[in-house]
């Protein structure tokens, strides 16, 4: 099967291939994600209960607390961070978190084109993400 290629802007370099976890809602890492295990804990979030560990985490943008950068750093140190972060619009809080946690990150991607359960190959150096549409692999981590 031919992958779909999406081109965005490099934020933090790196390469990975993993399952996509996609949200239509912004994420606040402080208060929104449990730093102990990477589970989404914000009530009413469309990913409530899902785990971001080892996923290619796609969401529109960050919001809320500026401590969110440190939460990403903690997650990385506990091996609970996402493999990569894909945003529509990057904000400084998530960007700085990805920089100090060394999580590959791309923004300016139309994330609607990605579905939870797709296999995503991220080449952050080139700002490219390749998507393989997988059937039946949805929300494997919930």
């Amino acid at each position: 099967m031919q992958p779909i290629t999406l081109k965005g802007r490099k934020i933090v370099e790196g390469h990975c291939k993993a399952e996509a976890l996609v949200s239509t809602k912004p994420i606040s890492f402080l208060g929104g994600v449990d730093p102990a295990d990477g589970k989404i804990i914000e009530r009413d979030h469309d990913l409530y209960g899902a785990c971001i560990k080892d996923k290619v985490l796609c969401f529109p943008h960050g919001h809320g607390s500026t401590v969110g950068s440190y939460v990403l750093y903690s997650l990385a140190k506990k091996n609970c961070a996402p493999k990569a972060i894909i945003n529509q619009t990057a904000d400084p809080v998530v960007v700085v978190g990805a920089i100090i946690a060394n999580i590959p990150m791309i923004d300016q991607i139309e994330i609607k084109k990605i579905t939870t359960g797709d296999i995503a190959e991220v080449d952050a150096h080139k700002g490219i993400i390749k998507i393989w549409k997988e059937k039946g692999a949805k929300q494997a981590c919930i």
Binding site: R9, I11, P26, S28, L30, G31, G32, P35, I41, E42, R43, D44, P60, H61, G62, H63, G64, S65, T66, V67, G68, S69, Y70, V71, Y73, S74, A76, K77, K78, T89, A90, D91, P92, V93, V94, V95, V96, G97, I99, I100
Partner: protein
């Protein structure tokens, strides 16, 4: 991005490791957001001071910077920590106190002022049009919107990096063209109380993303109410600024949004998560109280006593507590607790057996279910105090 010779030397590691790490954070941010240069800042304010929200790994990052002799270049203040040294530290396990003091020592070693407040502008008001590197999203919105200073919403580590370097990349809110309003917000009815200001912030934050609104009908709003609005706006979105007075621009062509009273009512109802009417804790002071708010609280309590069944916390900075000492004494005589250096959200209320928190802050109501594992009741200040005194 253009770097001066000295900046390049820092970037290349000719000075200490800490300076190099900080410079790299700033340069990467700057390049990403197309800054042409670094600009000097008047002050920095960092978030990520509470050990509860930081945890161990970021603490190690701070320890490494402090050990490598990082020193602040400009006036740099700190957000609240996870406990105070008079009231909460006696009720929480001593190892948490020690871990918090370790975090604080790292910051003090780097030359930070132990302001321990989310309202650094009450300690020293930034001048209009100065450039700042502030984290603490509520203070960012207040600085841009009410004080007329210029700051991006820094992440905790980038505000820290800016403090050590004394500069910030020149992008975003530091450039006049990015401070232009994009949306005109009309209110169906004037806002009634503090909770409606907060609810408007949450409602707008969710729909605006990062667009700057002009909000009509706020000409007579108090600074305390604008503080509530800004804190909630930053909680729910990426917006760093709002206009509360009509700027001198043509508004015919910009997008218009009208906010109905029912939108605010729904937002307030959603932020209350329980039907119980008996909170374990009533908390005001998110963001930290101003002198005027403490005066108002003392006045509202009047001669009544706080009921023994509930705790009543008023959180503020040491600076304001000292200035408001007459009112503080009255609140404390009547059974309330005026805490400094911390707040309910960044301490371990669950370890004190607190399961329901009543507050007048929409920001607190948003965070309490996850950060405090408690239910929330959002109600105006007057109702919070009535509940504290009369049940």
């Amino acid at each position: 991005m253009h770097l001066t010779k000295e900046e390049e030397r820092i970037y290349d590691g000719e000075f200490c490791w800490a300076n190099q790490v900080c410079m790299k954070i700033l340069v990467r941010l700057g390049e990403l957001f197309k800054a042409k240069k670094l600009i000097p800042i008047s002050s920095s304010h960092v978030s990520g001071v509470s050990y509860k929200t930081l945890g161990d790994a970021p603490t190690e990052f701070l320890e490494a910077l402090a050990k490598a002799n990082a020193k602040v270049k400009v006036k740099s203040t700190l957000n609240p920590q996870s406990l105070d040294c008079n009231f909460l530290c006696k009720r929480l396990p001593s190892d948490l106190y020690e871990k918090q003091m370790n975090v604080l020592n790292c910051f003090e070693k780097m030359g930070f002022t132990s302001s321990l407040t989310c309202t650094p502008y009450y300690l020293e008001k930034p001048k209009k049009d100065v450039h700042l590197a502030w984290a603490e999203s509520s203070a960012v919105v207040y600085a841009n919107s009410v004080l007329g200073a210029w700051t991006n919403r820094e992440g905790g580590p980038s505000a820290l990096a800016a403090a050590i370097i004394g500069k910030t990349p020149d992008y975003g809110m530091h450039q006049a063209e990015n401070r232009q309003p994009k949306v005109l917000v009309k209110l169906e009815k004037p806002l009634l109380d503090d909770v409606e200001f907060g609810a408007l912030g949450i409602f707008l934050g969710k729909i605006l993303k990062d667009e700057i609104p002009i909000i009509q009908g706020l000409e007579k709003a108090s600074k305390d109410n604008l503080k509530q609005l800004g804190a909630a706006l930053a909680t729910a979105g990426m917006t760093n600024m709002f206009y509360h007075k009509l700027p001198r621009i043509k508004t015919e062509k910009i997008e218009k949004i009208s906010v109905q009273t029912s939108d605010l009512k729904r937002t307030i109802e959603k932020l209350t998560t329980t039907s119980t009417k008996t909170p374990d804790l009533i908390f005001v002071g998110c963001p930290h109280c101003s002198l005027n708010e403490i005066r108002q609280i003392a006045k509202l309590i009047g001669s009544r006593k706080i009921r023994k069944e509930t705790e009543f916390w008023v959180c503020t900075s040491r600076h304001i507590k000292e200035k408001a000492i007459k009112h503080v004494k009255k609140i404390e005589r009547n059974g309330g607790h005026v805490l400094t250096d911390t707040c309910a959200v960044v301490t371990w209320t669950e370890k004190l057996g607190i399961k329901t928190i009543m507050t007048n802050s929409a920001k607190t109501a948003h965070y309490v279910p996850t950060l405090n594992k408690a239910q929330t009741i959002l109600a105006p200040l007057k109702e919070c105090i009535k509940k504290a005194c009369e049940g």
